[in-house]
């Protein structure tokens, strides 16, 4: 028994950290997020060459065949660097296919997704903050999809949408819609987190392909999403704490660095104290996803709620500790503050996931 990362995992994380530090500093983050799509094909291409989109795709379909923990380590680094782009939706689309498509579908879709050549995304949310598949009202009548999906990441970039919908007999499943399919209306939205833009998508008789594998694939993808968001939130939180600590060591007031004041030290210590155990928590959840299946769903719900709440507190504290400069557009902190807003809302709020965890415990 061992509860730590392997040498390979550490090396992979370092590689990604170095790559993003060099290739995606916040100047580039800002340039990309100011574009209409917040998608930079060159950056995505470079990440694809590092293998990021295909990490958990089994080798027989052209991926690295690694586990969700490895993918979550990538999510942590992307969160740390505040990387813009379609990573999250693409990863969840890939899980939908890996866990919920037929062998033939996997063979036909996964290789291009693993290479990052075909970008996927997921269309799940519905009006009334409905992230629970049992309450989805978008339908597939055998011919086409009808309904509206909200908060779809990079819908205007993706080559394929993986849409949650109900069939004529009431069963919820996932349906693949190709880019350019008829009857699709994408509404652009002005959003807080400009590194991960979302759109509303309406379907009117849109042709779609049902995923023909196990129905459990959808829940697996939701669980994966919760864990990847938790990892993103941790990476961002860690970055904000580092920024605040480094600022406290250099900023002088009253003739000394502010990090010598106990009030400042204690605020930073409280942040670190909350963060350290949270790392172990999402590691465990990611590990459980592949190896302790009976705990996976409940842990995923708990880490989504916990880490995104934490991300909110850490970004607020870090901003407060920076004083006036932290509240400016020019200073980078708000980029993570905005990521925290996305992480909290996307896939449902913390209260929803805690209630889910309560129900899963049989309460």
């Amino acid at each position: 028994m061992d509860f730590g990362l392997s040498q390979d995992q550490l090396l992979f994380q370092q590689t990604l950290r170095r790559f993003l530090t060099e290739q995606c500093p916040t100047t580039r983050v800002r340039a990309i997020m100011e574009t209409e799509t917040a998608h930079d094909p060159a950056l995505w291409q470079a990440l694809s060459e590092l293998g990021v989109p295909g990490l958990i795709v089994p080798p027989e379909y052209g991926g690295a065949g690694l586990e969700l923990l490895d993918l979550a380590l990538a999510a942590e680094e992307l969160g740390y660097a505040c990387t813009p782009g379609p990573f999250l939706g693409h990863a969840l689309a890939a899980v939908c296919v890996i866990e919920g498509a037929s062998e033939e579908q996997r063979r036909s879709w996964l290789p291009a997704m693993a290479e990052g050549k075909s970008i996927g995304t997921v269309a799940w949310g519905e009006a009334g903050s409905q992230w629970d598949p049992q309450h989805w009202s978008t339908t597939f009548d055998g011919q086409g999809l009808n309904g509206q999906k909200l908060f779809v990441p990079f819908a205007n970039v993706a080559d394929a949408l993986f849409v949650g919908a109900r069939s004529a007999d009431g069963r919820v499943g996932v349906y693949r819609v190709e880019r350019g399919a008829p009857g699709v209306t994408i509404t652009p939205l002005s959003v807080v987190d400009m590194t991960r833009k979302v759109q509303h998508v309406r379907f009117e008789g849109t042709p779609a392909t049902p995923l023909e594998g196990p129905a459990s694939g959808l829940q697996r993808a939701i669980d994966a999403g919760c864990i990847l968001i938790a990892a993103d939130a941790f990476g961002g939180s860690r970055r904000c704490l580092e920024m605040a600590v480094s600022y406290a060591k250099t900023r002088e007031q009253f003739g000394q660095v502010i990090g010598a004041f106990q009030a400042v030290k204690h605020q930073l210590a409280n942040m670190a104290c909350e963060l350290e155990p949270a790392l172990s928590l999402w590691w465990y959840a990611a590990h459980a996803y592949d190896h302790i299946r009976d705990q996976a769903e409940r842990h995923a719900a708990m880490v989504k709620a916990h880490l995104t709440d934490l991300y909110d507190r850490i970004t607020r504290d870090a901003t407060e500790l920076h004083g006036g400069i932290g509240f400016t557009w020019e200073f980078d902190l708000h980029l993570w503050f905005r990521r925290a807003v996305f992480d909290r809302g996307f896939l449902g709020d913390a209260h929803y996931h805690r209630e889910r965890a309560a129900k899963l415990a049989g309460w």
Binding site: K249, A260, H266, A272
Partner: protein, 482 residues
């Protein structure tokens, strides 16, 4: 980690309707008087592994990748433990429990130290089930680091009501300190008997004028031939009235700067010249004491570490105390009780567990309790790999003690008006034990270094922030005056 430990706590299966009788509740709630909450906190998985033992542990690590599965071999192991218990801890043994010392029962852990219990513990050590982090030559069972096996052992022992590892100042704090700094003779003399409960310990650190600023302590130990002669006054000393020995910090070299003049001494509490006076806590009970030393003679052989190195030695004990207090097990046990209460108690006409706010808070706290547990796994792994845990190791006390407070406060909210009944009141759910937990969660926040001192430690040693200028000015002044 499989279903057997995480998320499968026994209370979860309790059907949650109706009010249960208080007596039944008392059976299921965390038990013990307040003293246990502090003194008999369940053993941390292994904070006490001395650095020297790293290599021993490391060689047993199977594969250097994350692996928390209950593989089939663990089920085999569980069967072995069960068979051992069936053979060595019979119904007769269980029924033979001597009347429990109110201080001796803790959170449902069996902590008997009578002859049968000792015989059983020796057999369990022989089989490798107890004190796995302590070398065999000192009375432990010297087993490879494996929290999953540890969890199985703890679970099966608890189910069987069998005596497990002793915890408290001696086994949890002094033993790891001796493993790290003691002489061979000290290890031979004290560790085995401490692990079996034959020697009870108390900790002589705080003084009336030396609390958070512990290094300003003034109890003196002057060398007289082969003896130190101790004079002074210790305070907040839990167990001093019943302990056989004390591990204490004393000033041996008053002319040196304050941290360098301190030594770590083992003092026989039966020595002439020691007076113990009980102190009553806010809970109403008296579990800690003042201890007065009047020309108490202590052999030089009882010095742990070198003369003047007491501060460094004590830091190692403090670390173990903080790990002990921060360990997830205490919060886990209290949370278990809270979950049970939430199913069993009614709140305004419906089972409390149906209240949406309460459900959310229960999940939130369970999440933090789990985070604390997995954090323990991570620290143990770092220890086993010989890595410096850095800041990860510094946050345990603050996180665990804050969490303990949050869990106890949830219990109080759940009890609502019933929470105003005192511990021991038969009308109170669970005999008022949750109030005990609530009050002691404050004691725990203070013991082993207050929460604010922990924040200083995390900020200065963990984050590399400068030391508090006021503290530095105070030390400069003391040096000048001293």
């Amino acid at each position: 980690m499989g279903t057997a430990t995480v998320g499968a706590l026994p209370f979860l299966s309790v059907p949650g309707t109706g009010t249960r009788r208080n007596a039944e509740l008392a059976q299921c709630a965390p038990r013990g008087t307040q003293s246990e909450w502090k003194r008999f906190l369940p053993a941390p998985a292994l904070p006490g592994c001395a650095k020297k033992e790293h290599s021993v542990i490391a060689q047993f690590l199977e594969v250097p990748i994350m692996d928390l599965r209950f593989r089939p071999e663990y089920e085999v192991f569980r069967e072995e433990v069960r068979a051992f218990l069936a053979e060595h801890w019979t119904d007769d043994d269980r029924a033979s429990a001597p009347p429990l010392n109110p201080r001796g029962m803790s959170l449902g852990l069996a902590i008997r130290t009578d002859e049968r219990a000792t015989r059983f513990r020796l057999a369990a050590i022989e089989r490798g089930y107890l004190y796995r982090h302590v070398p065999r030559r000192y009375g432990g069972s010297e087993q490879p680091f494996d929290p999953l096996k540890l969890a199985i052992i703890q679970e099966e022992f608890r189910k069987a009501g069998a005596p497990g590892e002793l915890i408290g100042q001696g086994p949890s704090m002094l033993v790891p300190t001796l493993l790290e700094h003691g002489t061979e003779e000290q290890k031979q003399r004290f560790i085995r008997d401490t692990l079996l409960g034959k020697i009870q310990w108390c900790q002589g650190y705080s003084e009336p004028g030396a609390g958070s600023d512990l290094a300003s302590l003034r109890t003196r130990a002057e060398l007289d031939g082969d003896f130190f002669v101790v004079n002074g006054h210790k305070i907040w000393t839990s167990n001093a009235d019943t302990a056989d020995w004390m591990f204490a910090l004393v000033r041996t070299d008053p002319e040196k700067p304050k941290h360098e003049g301190i030594s770590y001494l083992l003092i026989d509490m039966k020595s002439p010249g020691i007076t113990v006076r009980p102190l009553r806590q806010m809970t109403g009970e008296a579990d800690f004491n003042e201890v007065f030393f009047d020309n108490v003679r202590v052999p030089v052989a009882n010095l742990v570490g070198k003369r003047g190195q007491g501060w460094a030695v004590s830091r190692s004990t403090l670390k173990h105390e903080r790990n002990l207090i921060g360990s997830s097990l205490l919060s886990e046990r209290v949370l278990e009780g809270v979950r049970y209460l939430a199913h069993a108690l009614e709140l305004r006409g419906r089972p409390a567990i149906q209240d949406p706010v309460l459900r959310a808070r229960l999940v939130e706290l369970e999440t933090k309790v789990l985070a604390n547990r997995y954090h323990g796994y991570r620290l143990l792994t770092m220890q086993a790999r010989g890595e410096d845990p850095g800041i990860a190791g510094l946050v345990t006390k603050l996180y665990g003690s804050t969490l303990g407070y949050e869990v106890a406060r949830l219990a109080m909210d759940l009890l609502s008006d019933r929470g105003l009944l005192a511990p021991g009141e038969s009308e109170a759910p669970a005999m008022g034990m949750f109030l005990t937990a609530y009050m002691w969660s404050l004691g725990i926040l203070i013991a082993g270094g207050t929460a604010n001192i922990q924040r200083n430690v995390i900020a200065e040693r963990g984050l590399g922030l400068p030391r508090d200028p006021a503290t530095q000015r105070g030390q400069a002044r003391e040096r000048k005056e001293g």
